[in-house]
Amino acid sequence: MELFEALGLNVKILLAQLVNFAVLLFVIYKFGYGPIMKVLNDRQNKIEKGIKDANEAKEKLVEIENKEKEVLAEARREAQEIIKKAQAIAEESKAEVVEITKQEAAKIMADTKKKIEQERAQIMSEVKGEISELIITATEKIIGKKMDAQEDKRLVEEIVGGIK
């Protein structure tokens, strides 16, 4: 074929080109395609894993937040309950204290009244005694004569009773 000659086709050159290309293919496959694809795949896997991890972490975070909220709500509710209870207790104890205080006050009042009564009675009797003495003395002076002690006392008492 003259065309092949004109195109410069030569079996030896073709073989040389074939070997050349085969070596090139081998090298690219061995040192280019293989490692680079591996690196790319690794990186892709890594990125995917990273994204997955991030998503998981996010989910976990949300979960934890929810839990936190729950716990917080629980705590708040409990606190509320405790406060309520405490208030109830306080209310109760207050009433009790008031009651006790009232009772005590009443007791003190009664005591005081009694004491005052007693004192008054004492004072009264003392005053009565003194007054009767006074009256006796005065009457003695006025009347000038000492009456019979018994009669005298009766008379004074009668008068004092009239005063009273």
Partner: protein, 75 residues
Amino acid sequence: MELEAAKMLGAGIAIGLGAIGPGIGEGIAASKALEAIGRNPEASGKIVPLMFVSMAIAESTAIYALVISLIILFG
């Protein structure tokens, strides 16, 4: 006419006529592809490679003409 001159003429005519069809065909392919890109610019990444491939296939006829003219000239 000498044989050499006839060969030259034949080769020129062969490649010239053979290039008409693919020329028109590639023009149609390009115009349709551009139309498609104009209608849907997001798809240009898919259209352009396909356009080149189909153009290359349409070009085959011109390449046969080229081969024939080379055979006439050198064969």
